[in-house]
Symmetry: D2
Subunit: 358 residues, 4 copies
């Protein structure tokens, strides 16, 4: 008998179901004696032994379905070793559930934080296999995460729609794209949507350069400017503050989000009307795009193969067009940022995009 | 020689280009001796005699293109008879342009405010034909305006995407849909997207009823609640205030928009996380949906026919499946609201939707 | 106790699930004591007493899901009174199932053929309520059927995509749109997609006029021509044949479908390359468009209301913007054709569309 | 002065305009003294000196527009050295045009055949830079071509729509996907759409295995089977024939396309109804997907950089996430096939997909 636990953790994204379907179909293609324990709402389900027994039937027909049939929750790794209100040590609780159910392997789908915890569980002796799930594409060790391309598609569609209305009026439009720490979604959606200005967490902006770019467009007879701004975009002044100073400043300013902050700055320095669009959680929603379905299905099947091989302790990732096993110890705790000096930035600038810097 | 002036006024929407294409193709199918004057940016172009000479070629290939090739601007009808900074009487200026160019007819595409002005120009003796353009579907005299269905499609797509992410987390999601005075887009998108609660300007809400609906869903094991709220949704307390009192209150509260106000109220009265999505101007953007393309093409062709008949002073509208000529004098100044007692509201309630009232 | 039978019959279409959800949610909003019998695969399920007991939970989350959770089959009404291979009289079998289960009402979702049978069952004394389901929009007694607008959207999307590739090459493109007897989908998709020529079952075409229209475009410097042809489009010569003669001719010609026939005729008479696209059953597939979701939800809720009123023997239809009860006796056996003299045809012609006639 | 010629050759695809925009914006970001010669309809324009002078304005707003503003035609490389009806040597004609216009570089966008000719022109001493355009993704030297992902998206959407209608009926559905020699689009769309059987040119099928797979599904209670078949799919018997024998056989059989052939074989060996969908040229149409827009923009900008560097004789390609210059001499004449032994095939099989082989 092969006993597999499975959980999805962190912010949800597209293709979680597709990936799990790949894992289960892959295992069941070779083995009949499989039990699948679906832990509910991320690590919480593992901690509190909250699970459902699932069969391969439960994974049929979910290739195209957004969300996760297991539910998810922001993962509580920070508090891991701090007992909860009932005195429960969460790491021990997870180990207890794992051993009590006599699991052969725990399959974890998640992003950066999730991988730290997954690696800790591996260090504690559990068999763990992980899949790189995040719209942010910021996981180390894989060329691409699933969810990313779907999010780019949605953010780009938002910019496309804004484009037609922008051409009718003389305005500055700001589209706020998801990404607190990394700007991959904003960068790709900005290029794909033909944004005029892109503001990323990795490239602190100079508001005067942004304003210059707007004015230059106006002077050239272009009536509108479209700005794609990442949630975590930051001015070069703010980038110099300490974390504590920045937090205090933000709390004082009370902007609902970064788009409102940028809008106010632009309105103070130009005579243009500014409009804001916040597609928000739609970027995590809807059916996964075909790219993500293929990627997640392949990763899932490759995870099944690793499990059937009894080869644990890896994240499955994609390198070029191949699926590879990346040691969890190498993945955990590393983020993949947009490099301001990379060729994609340079290529974007050559097509006229301003990143708000000189 | 037939000389036609054309302008698009007010907020832009989908199918403006499609409608103009219909007018021009329709006229040119019968007459070779046509001159088309495209006034830029709405009534402004007529006032300041800012126009381009266009040919039927300019209207080829724009059936599917969003926005308006003429540009538009919020229309300045309130100030019509008040001279501008240069002492210009705007109504006289428009008449002057019309007569100077020796126009046979002015074709105006716009919403409610635009129609008031168009009717005034008619009263001043100009030949005017109008087309009912607005995402709000609030024009009197037509079953449907173009732009509406496209906006519903986009707002519904937003709710659809939120649905998949909502099922993964335990949250309340608020989607803010366009509509300051009327709730047609919110109502249709809310039903189409399967929203649990719909809040309309025409049905002032009781926050306690809203909160009850949320709690009832939670008690029934449904993890999430989706709320479609119109920009102009209003609480029953605020609905009792005078316009002045309300304005003062709003300015004090400083909510970026109604979704933030509703979110705060819900967070105070429940233990649920709330997330906000504001699709904003995307609802006016993108290619018109097929429904709007057919409607606008038909309206445009019928406008051409009226012009060829020399039958002026009408808005073209749709009644059942026929295009009809509706006297401008009957249209101007009337809004078509959602009737809280209408059958669509009752049908929506039967499928479990709460409108925030008992 | 209220016992409701339900079935979907005929070719499937979008919003069948949405409509059934409306019925069930509507009934369950007023009554707790409800039993729902879902007959499998259309009238077959009623004949052979093949059903599943369903609860309101089964109808949750299916608003946006295409297809039908009950399955469907081409309905066997022609053979109704002819015993099957086991000597079974099908009408008696249906009545037997109905009475055996002690049903209060049978809810039938279907098109033209389905309605004939439903009316027969009504005449046999059963309580029947029907909903107008068909992509063809050819049911008498309602302004609109659900499924139609979704099919138009898909066929239009096909034409849109062909448009971009058409502009790159010098070719004639034929898009074959569903509709054997009526041309509503082809007409609307053709207008919405900007087709140059539209060929409908109701307007027998003259191939020489079609060829003239193609040559005229070429002479005017337009490189491509797009033709939207309904499956049932017919030449004026063939329209004069008897049913039997036509059948014999078609069998001899062995064209896979009408597009291939039209293509061959055009290739014989012009020097242009011709390309064929057959979107086929995709036109019945995918998530219902928002328009159909609203329409089907309203119709479903109104059906629930009729059932709760104990008012049977009706199809629910839409007139203007209201849902109405239309006596089944008036609906059965009537088709709603495109009228060649209607205003929409005239309006389409004014925008330059040729219907292949002089 | 920098004089750039540009042409698009072969079957059109998405993102041709986006790529050209990237080239022109990239060059104009560094140089003011640029002349752009847009050759019409592929190499024909170069042969017959048929071009338009273009400015950067012509490339504004075309990022999202399908097709090619230059037009294209199947490229005549086979006849290159054979004089045409007027005794014209085409290679000399192209060289003549190039030198007459005093071009600094010729930018060529195309697929496999196009690259052979481009390399020949390079060998003749012209400065050539190429961009890898094809929905087939079969070009050697780049991980990915633009057009491919857009085509996969459209083919997948077709399969998705068929899925919902398939679940309502008991049928076999065949979706014919573009790809005569290589099966990349079919493979990816098949996996993404959840096809049950995938038939590729690279993996000759055994019809008995295909039929077994269908019957096995039926026996397992699954009502339908979806088959994604590439245009160039071939049976193992036919794969053994010589080119000449195969051609003779095909001409005798007169199937409109491969889907009809496969359908007939299945209908002979099973009792299931079969339905065919041929999305055809839609797979080349519509707006490029965001993935292709980013890829083509980057490739275009990188081509600009190569030109500004005066570094000619390359195709721009993507390796991992970087844009690289690949010598044309290495690219020309090589096709990138699906390897039947590659990991993606194995992963697909693990998720239950049959490739029609044992």
């Amino acid at each position: 008998m092969l006993r597999i636990g499975m959980l999805t953790s962190g912010g949800d994204c597209q293709a979680l179901n597709a990936a799990m379907r790949g894992v289960v179909k892959g295992i069941c293609s070779k083995r009949d004696d499989v039990e699948i324990y679906g832990f509910q709402e991320g690590y919480k389900g593992l901690i509190y032994s909250n699970f459902k027994m699932l069969t391969s039937r439960d994974f049929s027909g979910i290739l195209t379905v957004g969300g996760t049939i297991l539910g998810t929750s922001r993962q509580p790794f920070k508090l891991m070793r701090v007992p909860d209100e009932n005195g429960l040590d969460k790491v021990e609780a997870m180990k207890h559930t794992y051993h009590k159910l006599n699991l052969d392997c725990l399959v974890v789908l998640g992003g950066n934080g999730t991988h730290k915890t997954a690696n800790m569980l591996r260090e504690e002796g559990l068999h763990v296999i992980t899949l790189p799930k995040t719209i942010d594409n910021d996981l180390w060790g894989t060329d691409m995460t699933f969810g990313f391309q779907s999010a780019v598609d949605i953010a780009t569609d938002t910019i496309d729609k804004i484009h037609t209305t922008a051409t009718s009026h003389s305005r500055v439009f700001i589209v706020e794209v998801m990404g607190h720490k990394v700007g991959w979604v904003t960068l790709h959606a900005g290029i794909a949507g033909g944004a005029d200005i892109i503001m990323l967490p990795e490239i602190p902006y100079d508001i005067n350069v942004v304003v210059d770019a707007i004015n230059k467009r106006k002077a050239a007879g272009k009536k509108f400017t479209i700005i794609a701004v990442a949630e975590g975009a930051i001015s070069k002044e703010d980038a110099k503050l300490s974390k504590k100073e920045l937090k205090a400043k933000k709390e004082k300013q009370k902007y609902p989000s970064v788009a409102y902050e940028v809008a106010e700055k632009i309105q103070k320095k130009t005579d243009q009307e500014v409009r804001i669009t916040v597609p928000g959680h739609t970027q995590r929603g809807g059916s996964p795009c075909p790219y993500d379905r293929v990627l997640s299905t392949r990763l899932g099947a490759a995870a099944a193969e690793a499990i059937l091989d009894g080869d644990y302790g890896y994240m499955l990732g994609v390198k070029k067009n191949d699926i590879v096993r990346v040691p969890l110890s190498e993945v955990a705790g590393k983020l993949k940022y947009v490099d301001p000096k990379s060729s994609i930035i340079k290529e974007a600038e050559m097509t006229g995009i301003s990143f708000g810097i000189k």
